[in-house]
């Protein structure tokens, strides 16, 4: 097997790792700054007493909290991913051929044979999750197994093993931390606001004594929630752009890696064509079912983005780089690679 380390991918992963570590800490301190500026002013107004001090989070705590988050991501990330796509661990009784293929390809790639899980989805796709390269899991869907012939299936499995060998799966797993965190915080802020306005809208009677308190509470909660949501969205955007940018490059690297493992770039090109064609014919609801927030990990892009809703995409792919390169472009590159090998 001719395996050349991809310096470009390694450089991007290094940059991504730095940003993945720095952005969550910056996220924490953005909140500290917001509290010390707007928050304490708001508190002073609400309590009618001075708050001239400052809230602090010691750097070791911020770094420690982020480290705990990453540790939790390491500990739970694969389970969450498998649960999101309703995947079960495959064993040699239920999927002897699939596991044999994976063992053979892993041996060729020179890595430990990963675990295999099968998702009960008709949408043909595959991805790998890996807190550590030695503890990787390759996930394939029933749809993928049914749609592809043997060489195509080998090519897709080799593509996922290339992700594991390149270690970009680990980086991608860590990259999920901040988008998940910011998305959760923004969601909480949204539901607090929604709940507040529901309560206010249903209030029947407030006496004069309570009126000022109600107004103060509404203003404080509203401003706090808006600021929380604004900061969360800002960091979510930053982390998501980073996440998706890395995602595109690593797909090309994994395509090249798959070609190196199987020695057959055209098999992967054919598999991509099949998967793409199959997904084009799928109903949107099926695609959303298989999304689960893991699109960036798949072998091929699903057409309906995770934050989209049918034709009304909330966030345009013109602004946010798509997780995967264009399939046609990938096929062309694989064909060029096949030409070079010939």
């Amino acid at each position: 097997m001719e395996w050349e380390p991809d310096r470009g991918l390694q450089f991007r992963m290094a940059v991504a790792l730095v940003l993945v570590a720095v952005l969550p800490v910056a996220f924490v301190y953005a909140f500290v700054v917001a509290i010390n500026t707007v928050g304490l002013e708001l508190l002073e107004w609400a309590t009618d007493r001075p708050w001239n001090g400052r809230v602090y989070v010691k750097p070791w705590l911020a770094v420690g909290a982020v480290a705990v988050g990453f540790a939790a991501q390491f500990a739970l990330g694969d389970r969450v991913a498998l649960h999101a796509v309703d995947a079960r661990r495959a064993d040699r009784d239920s999927h002897p051929d699939l596991l044999a293929r994976v063992d053979r390809l892993a041996q060729t790639a020179g890595i430990e044979s990963p675990s295999v899980a099968v998702s009960r989805s008709g949408v043909p796709n595959a991805f790998a999750v890996s807190p550590r390269p030695s503890d990787a899991t390759v996930v394939v869907t029933d749809g993928l197994i049914d749609s592809l012939d043997g060489d195509e299936l080998d090519a897709v499995l080799a593509h996922e093993l290339a992700h594991v060998k390149n270690r970009d799966v680990t980086v991608m797993s860590l990259s999920y931390f901040l988008p998940s965190l910011t998305y959760a915080v923004a969601t909480v802020a949204f539901f607090i606001l929604k709940g507040l306005f529901y309560v206010v809208g249903n209030a029947r009677h407030v006496d004069d004594d309570g009126a000022k308190g109600v107004v103060v509470a509404i203003v404080v909660i509203t401003v706090s929630a808006l600021i929380t949501a604004a900061i969360s969205v800002l960091f979510w955007v930053a982390s998501y752009v980073l996440f998706r940018t890395l995602s595109q490059y690593r797909e090309h690297a994994a395509d090249r890696g798959a070609a190196a493992i199987t020695g057959d770039p055209l098999a992967l090109a054919s598999a991509l064509r099949t998967v793409d064609d199959e997904m084009s014919g799928m109903p949107d609801s099926d695609l959303r079912d298989v999304d689960g927030g893991l699109e960036a990990l798949y072998v091929a892009p699903i057409d309906d983005y995770q934050f989209g809703d049918g034709d009304r995409e909330l966030i345009s792919s013109d602004i946010f780089p798509a997780t995967h390169p264009d399939t046609e472009e990938r096929i062309e590159r694989l064909q060029e690679l096949a030409g070079e090998r010939a």
Binding site: R49, P50, W51, N52, G53, R54, V55, Y56, V57, K58, W60, L61, G64, A65, V68, A71, A72, A75, L76
Partner: protein, 376 residues
């Protein structure tokens, strides 16, 4: 428990412990350390002062019903509060009314009289002097005339009577009596209540406007007839005595009365402000409040800086880095170095203070007694 659950449980424990230790709120200057709203009625008291770590309030006359005599009685009441948290230490009632009040380092003294006038009134009668400390009344001694002014230093209390006698009291006894002195229009009211001052080196009073210094044993050490309009005995130290007349602050040698330096008020002062300056010795420096201005003087009388907008009746309390005053908008901390504003906390009305104590800056207002964080 699986290893993964054990791992997550230990992470959660670690996170909880770390959160308690690594984040929080650093109080800033002006933040409220404590507020005792139950003391909101202190504005009705006649005197409020801080000595050491105790806040003393004096009500010159409170009415109560004597069941045995079946009659209403009126007498003074002194209440002491702990400045650490505003809690009441004790309440001391007297059968006589309070006529004078003096403040020492950690104790206070009250001049008591049996006539019908209080701190703001007149009327000679037999009187008593009570020395009161953080733990209650220490001693009481009878004086043969109404007490007009009091000064407290070390173990002694110096009382000036309505007849002009200077009486030194200690440990419940009259140690000596000198007089008669003429304190002019000095009465027991706040405006002219600083015509006698005491310190470890003795007592200084303004006799007909002239500063006179007496040693602790009653010996008259010196007199300065050339300074004839003393308005305030500012400070009596072991080596220096500071007095002020209508226009000038004098630093005099405690031993001889010789002038060490003088500091004149600005010639630009309007006529109505002349003679109305009030001096404060705090934090080792002098502060002059005149015409809504605060002047910071060093220990040679040189003006270091001025700041506009202070209240005429303000107390001035200086710490190492800040000077606390009552300004038009509330209580303000000024930089001790240049008089620039560090922080202000708004108050509609301040009844007494600010006072600097170990716990912070005390302000007595309609909201009770509030202790603010001084730094910032």
């Amino acid at each position: 428990m699986t290893s993964r659950r054990r791992f997550l449980a230990s992470l959660a424990t670690l996170a909880a412990g770390a959160t308690l230790a690594g984040c929080g709120y650093y109080p800033g200057g002006g933040d409220i350390r404590w507020r005792e709203e139950s003391l909101g009625g202190l504005y009705r008291t006649d005197e409020v002062a801080v000595a050491g770590e105790t806040l003393y309030t004096v009500t010159d006359s409170t009415q109560s019903y004597d069941v045995e005599e079946e009659t209403w009685t009126r007498g003074a009441e002194v209440v002491a509060y702990d400045t650490a948290d505003g809690s009441e230490r004790y309440s001391e009632g007297f059968e006589e009314r309070a006529r004078a009040f003096g403040v020492g380092e950690s104790d206070v003294a009250v001049g008591l009289g049996s006539d019908d006038t209080g701190l703001g009134g007149e009327g000679p009668s037999s009187s008593a002097v009570a020395r009161i400390g953080p733990d209650g009344r220490q001693w009481t001694v009878t004086v043969d005339a109404a007490v007009e002014q009091l000064a407290v230093a070390d173990e002694r209390v110096y009382a000036v009577t309505a007849e002009g006698a200077l009486v030194a009291c200690a440990d419940g006894e009259v140690r000596w009596r000198r007089g008669s002195y003429d304190l002019g229009n000095a009465g027991p009211d706040r405006e002219s209540s600083a015509l006698v001052g005491a310190g470890p080196a003795g007592v200084v009073l303004a006799d007909g406007g002239e500063p006179v210094h007496l040693a602790p044993d009653g010996t008259e050490r010196w007199r300065r007839p050339d300074i004839s309009l003393v308005q305030q005995v500012v400070d009596v130290g072991s080596d220096r005595v500071h007095v002020a007349d209508e226009t000038t602050l004098y630093a005099l040698a405690a031993e001889s009365g010789e002038s060490r330096w003088t500091a004149q008020e600005s010639a630009d002062l309007p006529e109505y402000a002349l003679g109305r300056a009030r001096y404060h010795r705090t934090g080792g420096d002098f502060y002059r409040v005149v015409d809504a201005e605060l002047h910071a003087l060093d220990d040679t009388g040189e003006t270091r800086w001025t700041n506009e907008g202070v209240e005429r009746e303000t107390n001035v309390a200086a710490g190492e880095t800040s000077v606390f005053v009552h300004t038009g908008s509330g209580v303000t901390a000024l930089s001790a170095d240049d008089g620039s504003r560090n922080w202000t906390v708004e108050y509609d009305r301040i009844d007494a203070g600010p006072f600097l104590v170990d716990a912070g800056v005390l302000v007595v207002s309609g909201q009770g007694v509030t202790c603010h964080v001084p730094r910032g």
